[in-house]
Symmetry: none
DNA sequence: TATGAATGAGGTTTCATTCAT
DNA sequence: GATGAATGAAACCTCATTCAT
């Protein structure tokens, strides 16, 4: 049997979508099984319990998003700081507005962060720290250690926050601004904006 | 009887904390009643159902946070753009890291945004749009209409995103950076940083 | 205070309508009190409990219907059997299709007969046996004791059944025939029909 | 497993008896499950909710009563009107006084008619209209269209009412007359009485 | 005489999990 | 390797009744 169509895989795929949409608690084992075309007992049979399925979903979702939109995916040959920021912002924005499986990771992250389970510790360690370091080292190098560590951290947060807002603020943007999604062009403009804005910010901070 | 100690008020207070911590669905009527020292049927007696209690909690939480930390609370006599941004950022940061009742609103907002209920529509309209407008008009005035509306919106998102990150990113910051809360001094420095960084960003964008 | 507008009376009146419509169990004390413009505790205060209110309602409803439409209300001077039957049928039909308070008794009776409470025993004794005897004696007299008691009883049931059908069959007639109520004229024709039909039946039985 | 002893079937059987005795609202899921020897969650597992179980009970009860006592069950070769009436009356009387499962349908009908649920619409359409038509056509044929439609309807109601009285009047007959049930012989005599009485009535009406 | 807050018992329903097959 | 029936715990909600005022 084609490995990607085993019951186990179908469960992970169906669960990804449902967990992303509703969060861990609101998603029911029954609806996941039904969406996967599997028996009600399938989750417990294949994964032991609901929470272990959730873990499996996380790994699946991160693998997809990280390989489809790596944070260093748009770096030129000899990248300057602005290139690093732009590459990071572009990847994150593409993930956030992806309507395919690559879009599941940000949605899961959003769910998870309001009600952290044990999964978040692992995710933070394996998935998010490396991305954060990617950005942190670029900023640190550019500032040439003339500034205290706290300042570097605040700059990083300013950059990450600008990107993350498009994920966490999704429901709000729909309501306050009325836009549900962004076109490819808009995504490009936003990524460019974040890079430019952040470069201006860092220059100002340096003085 | 002292009005602030009626069963109804005790329910709202207990529910605020529990909803903020766990979200609407995960919080149970039973634990709220127990925490309020009330009977299991008290919620239905005083509010009709769980959802109406939730609405009451929202209004309560917003009133407190908005009166304790208004977004225009640190404006000088003739404020420049940087003053607007600083006042906004300072209020938001203080709300986020308040350990008292003023801290409940951001936490409720975080919960709500991952699983929006009907409450969010009302909150967006009544509480968040005005704050957003406060910032938007300051930015628009400073940029003197030389730039397209999309640019203004992106700048606003850059500012809001920097602040909001400290709310939505809470669980992550704890895990990646290891800091759970910020001291008064740190809050002041972050607010100042966001104002400075954003001014630099806006100047860069203008060119 | 006008006696008919005391809280106690308003409760009885409101409860009559609601019990008639929904039956004992489905009617709630809360809605009765609200309809009567009284406090939620009023029923227990004035009547002790829900069931005692129910008893009070019965007496109220029977008094009204029996005085407005007595079964001997249309008897001529020297009545023949057909006159007795006609008078009985006319009274019952008028009660059943009354839209005022006189219509409450048949509706309560309908409710009660599918789920008898202790109230039914009393009602049967005080209200229904006398009416039954009214008809029974007329039939017995007309048949001149030439027939066994069982035959007399079956004839009575034939008469009563024809009338009662318009009460118990109400929901069904609406659905099968599509008529919700009867005009004054129709009521007269039905009463006349039942008298004629029954006289024919009794004559046939006698042979 | 023997199909008639599955949990689902045991639930229907237990529920039939309890719904017939107490009506929809008064019957509790808990007592039904206990009577069926099943878990409290069994109703929701097998039927979704209480109301769907109720529907299933209706179909079950009607199938049994209609196959055990069909309204045309006693028709001779070339039936006259009296034969139709007698066959109808005999079937209805047998249903009403059956102490087995065939007796559940009239009891359910009685309950339903004092507090109609959506089920009644369906029952009226599927179960009762055909029976009513069976009688109606026989009467219409016998009267040779010399009489207005209203007269035909009133004659039908006279016949149906005489039968139905033994169902709806059950609680009353117990109290006023003191007889709880009828023997086989009595049932036969009542059916014969209704046929004779009705023929006399119809003849009288025709003149 | 009357009230409004409060309560406890009990209702239906949901759902993750188990177990025999 | 997989299933469908079954379960127990716990969720929200309803409602007649009580009690202090």
């Amino acid at each position: 049997m084609n490995e990607s169509h085993t019951t186990k895989n179908r469960l992970i795929q169906a669960a990804s979508v449902i967990f992303a949409e509703k969060g861990y608690r609101e998603a029911t084992v029954a609806e996941i099984c039904e969406a996967a075309g599997a028996n009600i007992a399938a989750v417990n049979y294949h994964f032991g319990d609901k929470e272990s399925l959730y873990d499996a979903v996380w790994h699946h979702a991160f693998e997809i998003t990280a390989s489809e939109y790596p944070v260093d995916g748009s770096l030129p040959e000899h990248p300057a700081l602005e290139d690093y920021i732009h590459s990071y912002a572009r990847a994150i924005m593409n993930r956030i507005f992806s309507e395919g499986p690559a879009g599941l990771f940000p949605k899961l992250l959003h769910q998870e962060m309001s009600n952290p389970t044990l999964a978040l510790d692992q995710i933070a360690e394996e998935a998010l720290k490396p991305q954060s370091r990617f950005l942190g080292e670029a900023v640190r190098a550019a500032l040439e250690q003339k500034v205290p560590e706290e300042t570097i951290r605040m700059c990083m947060h300013s950059i990450i926050g600008q990107c993350a807002f498009y994920n966490f603020g999704r429901a709000l943007r729909e309501r306050v601004i009325g836009k549900k999604t962004l076109s490819k062009d808009e995504i490009e403009r936003v990524a460019r904006h974040i890079a430019t804005f952040s470069m201006g910010g860092i220059k100002e901070i340096q003085q």
